[in-house]
Amino acid sequence: MTNPTRDRERLSDLAVDRMLGLLSDEDAAEYRRLRDRDPEFDESSLEQAAAALHLATGIAPETMPEHLQRRLLADGMETFGANPRTRAVAIAPDRPRWQGMAGWLAAAACLGALIPMWLDRPSHTAAPNPPPMASNSSGVPRVAESGPDARPTPAGTGIAAALAGSVAGVSDPVRDRARLLAANHHLIQRAWRPGGDPAGLQVSGDVVWDPASQTGYMRFVGLRRNEPNAEQYQLWIFDATRDERYPVDGGVFDVTGARAGDVIPIKAKLPIGVPLIFAVTIERRGGVVVSDRERVAAIANTT
């Protein structure tokens, strides 16, 4: 003869063991038998209690590795990017993590308001924790400059990364850009558009960025030649994995006005997770730590 109260208690005990992954094979059979006889038993409330108790033991949040954060964000963007309003999602678990750039690009659509917000921000609201600029204060990169230290932190190990590494020591951004374009199918490539400053009214060209190798190039046509001793261009990269108030410094550069367009390697000072917006400002010689955003020459967003 069965005893419902006793059976319920036993089921609860076994459900706890099961929830902890500690249910023995012998007990598993008993658990299934009792569970079948008690369909109203609420197992999820046990899981909820265990979760609350787990948190109550005092878990200290820990900073995730940056590459893992990037993977999660790419997964998330990919999940919702193709169909932003889709609730049920289906993802092949073994799909390469860096595929699906279309998903990335969807994220930028939500940041459309960010550009005017950033541009309108007064200069006195300087970032309390701005990106470092020490390496930019001297030895400002020119178009013709390149070298092993010209690339930001490499993060990838794919073909593009290998290619970027193999050509890092050769100072030919035009050729390097072409090779990157030819070898990589997952590049972000977006056109420049004027940012409002007269220097960029005729700007065209594009920016290409390879997330895997953390390598990229800006190609400018029609961007006014600057006088390096007075002012220089500076790239800022808005990264979805970082605080949007503090775009990453992408390097200071000069424009020579080459007929075919200037090609300039991007020199991000920090690893870029999900680039949403590339913005070029005009700053004093050597660049700045925090831009006052008064002179924006060109913008490329990933929408």
Partner: protein, 192 residues
């Protein structure tokens, strides 16, 4: 306040379920550190922990629409999904589990007496239950939940019989469950 600054306790999962890309981003920022911390302790290796975290967040995206704030906090919901995934992954590789987190240090610094800010009511309820339990039972619960130890491993670690370990775990969790269920049925008016 910046456009993406996440300094509120507003639930994100309904917005994630609606496909808001920025909510996805904020969700990773808000819950990534806690999920990572849990995964590190309940995974055999750091590489497994990373894979688990990815799996957990995919699960969060899939189940975001099921979150019901009237039934509990979002943090507990995320932790529940994280635990479910991690336990599933541990089944079948239990013998490989060798946590690298120093247990004594973890307990002393992150135990129930910790004064870390915790705003989730149900976590506070659980903490109060935990604080009223005998110290050895608190330890048993922490070794199981936070470090994924088996009954036998906890028994060896605490010199308690396996049966006692089982009972302590079952009773402790059931007690919290009963308390939370009672509060869910008779919700407290937070405004009063």
């Amino acid at each position: 306040m910046g456009l993406l600054i996440d300094d509120s306790d507003e639930p994100l999962l309904p917005r994630v379920a609606a496909g808001e890309s920025l909510a996805v981003q904020r969700c990773i920022r808000r819950y990534g550190p806690i999920v990572w911390s849990i995964a590190r302790r309940l995974s055999p290796t750091p590489a497994d922990a990373e894979d688990a975290v990815q799996e957990i967040f995919l699960d969060i995206w899939r189940h975001a629409g099921r979150f019901d704030r009237t039934l509990g906090s979002e943090k507990v919901f995320v932790t529940l999904l994280a635990r479910r995934t991690l336990i599933d992954r541990l089944r079948g590789c239990r013998s490989r589990l060798r946590t690298e987190i120093p247990l004594e240090e973890d307990w002393e610094h992150e135990g129930p007496a910790s004064n870390r800010a915790e705003r989730d009511a149900e976590v506070e309820e659980a903490r109060q239950v935990l604080a009223r339990l005998p110290e050895v039972q608190q330890r048993v619960i922490a070794l199981s939940l936070a470090h994924g130890m088996s009954h036998a491993e906890i028994a060896a670690h605490t010199s308690l019989p396996v049966g006692t370990v089982k009972t302590m775990l079952r009773r402790g969790i059931a007690r919290v469950r009963g308390l939370l269920a009672a509060h869910t049925e008779c919700p407290v008016d937070e405004e009063s």
